[in-house]
Symmetry: C3
């Protein structure tokens, strides 16, 4: 990507150590914090409605992940999101499992409607459910029928652009092929590893990285999200290459964090498999 | 075990990718999710009462673990459990720390009374407390006096069978020697590693695996639970064999997940140390 | 340190397996549990107000960490802390992010005022905020201006002693140089690794270890806290030495737990870099 290089997006994260406020699920929250530290950002978690405004005030951006939403954390998401809006901070929405329950569908829809969301990051089933275009879901996993393939890439990109236009957000749809789009442009990213689907949290971690990249690159939101998605995918590839015969998803999780930790701007620029779609 | 082979139970999990809904403690929830992914299942966590019925509806079974219970998650457990009952989905109850507090004792008892629990998985102190036969407890660990030994194996199996008869559930009591029983039959399983007691979550992970095995083997509940318990123990042995001189419980945790990830049906069949008790 | 040797403090933990009740954040709670197991203690987590009195009753001490406080866990902290006070159990307070929000500042202050806190463990920004002497904070990280250095060591120690005198607690301020002080004496500890700041939870884990050491060494509180802080730092050094070229913070986290697991009394005595300050 030129003129804005992907490596700049990563280097800006490492140079500025953005503070990222995350209201996220308790399943993968530790990995989210360590992923942010690995990439050079600083994580803070706070969901209590009485706490989140102050915390958001000292941070640069907000991640909202509904993976284990409850009444209290939902209230915290709206309170934090409103404060982020007042301050012009980017908000990344990860609608985990939207479509799998009425509460998740309503909550994700309301967050999108009432807050100033900068980035939507999910799998295709989740993003379709959020867009109201599909009711199919297999819990927190993508439905096979929804997967982005070479065959439906053009149509998928058109969907992403249209949803980006409707929501005024960057839309990042991740899977075997990732799509990152705003209303005008769409990119396909072919980094990644199938093993990322065999650990919990690869998507959650990425959403937090998306926030860090958005905070550190205020003048290049779309490009920053391409960099975050490609960087996560590239880290997955590095982690997979490191797997030995006795290793499984326990080791892969560790290697993935290690790869994020060691990811440099030049390696990202060289390894990113990014194609701008017509 | 014949005619139903243990390997079938595992192969059925890997072939069907059961969706497992877990309401579990926040201490070990990440390990639980990764253990389910390692064994070939797909985890979903949701505790919010307004969310759990929908989530249970799309899943095949339910794990209830009271390790860090609170007012809200308790309500979620009952709501999810009632829905599981309506749908005929298996419920695995892990009564963590029952006997250590009045709330845990009452909650576990009520869950057992009011829900259709298919499997009870705990250490002997917990299962005794749940059965009302012992008040002794050492927090979340087994009391030394309660441990299953070769000397009390026959009496322990009789207790397990009687409690299974009373509750109409399979009872899985894990420790140095594991016992899995229904009202008719009891098995001793001698797989495992002492290091499993030096990490948090070995029991919690197993309970989630028990749910996955129950979902994937609807016609062989008892045998499926023997397979889950033996499989977890065998993974512990594989993990222990991999330990190097600098390794500790951090590495053991990773190796345990790796071993679950790589566990095959034939290896389980060959390595399971299962004895049917008279 | 003589006559009480640091190694005794550690050996007492391993010999007595203290049960430690922790009300802590959900970000690092798994690492906290595994760190306690690594050092030879036994962790229990419980935050529900209706559960905590019973749980504290069977434990030896209490860790209070406000990292992801909410209305319910705050109520649990006071209830558990009151019970600990009735029983004479040590309480370790980790005021994560105090100063970063009004709720955190008020909660940490109230816990300190209303409970019988034995140990306060935080970074210098947090401890200053708790002492009311500074409002500066950078989320959960220390402000660069607040860091303990060789240049301000004497003044830092004087501050720690004065705050210890005011609160009747041992004050443990951790950073590149750690300070542990009561009203009379102060120690500088120069163990540790910069990588401890690149994982989440090093401080949280240490606070839990502080509780275990306090429980196991009732007649040597100050010395026990020096041992806990030096032990954690030494484990960080061992972990750092183990880092290979592909390793990052994922592996470091694992190595840190491993190093705690393998830490022996003699190694602690030999490796501790402890200086009593005038």
């Amino acid at each position: 990507m030129t003129p804005f290089a992907l490596k700049n997006a990563l280097n800006n994260v490492r140079a500025t150590t953005p503070l990222v406020h995350n209201i996220t699920n308790y399943v993968t929250v530790n990995d989210c914090a360590n992923a942010l530290l690995a990439i050079g950002a600083s994580p803070i978690m706070s969901h209590e409605p009485a706490d989140v405004r102050d915390i958001q005030t000292i941070c640069g951006g907000l991640t909202l992940n509904i993976g284990t939403l409850d009444e209290r954390s939902i209230a915290g998401m709206f309170a934090a999101g409103e404060r982020a809006g007042e301050l012009g901070h980017p908000i990344v929405l990860d609608p985990v499992g939207v479509g799998a329950s009425a509460l998740r569908t309503k909550t994700a829809g309301d967050l999108l409607d009432r807050l100033s969301v900068s980035v939507i990051r999910g799998n295709m089933s989740e993003v379709k459910a959020l867009a109201g275009g599909a009711a199919s879901t297999r819990g927190v996993d993508v439905c096979p029928d929804d997967a982005v393939t070479e065959g439906n890439l053009s149509a998928s990109a058109a969907f992403a652009r249209a949803f980006a236009a409707k929501t005024s957000a960057v839309v990042a749809i991740t899977g075997a092929i990732d799509i990152v789009a705003d209303a005008e442009r769409a990119f396909a990213i072919r980094n990644g590893s199938a093993l990322m689907g065999r650990i919990t949290g690869a998507g959650c971690m990425l959403s937090c990285l998306c926030t860090a990249f958005a905070v550190a690159n205020p003048d290049a939101l779309l490009e920053s999200q391409v960099a975050a998605v490609a960087g996560m995918g590239l880290a997955g590839q590095v982690a997979e290459e490191r797997m030995g015969g006795l290793d499984g998803n326990g080791s892969f999780r560790t290697y993935l964090l290690d790869a994020l930790f060691n990811l440099g701007g030049d390696a990202l620029e060289a390894g990113a498999l990014v194609e701008e779609l017509a």
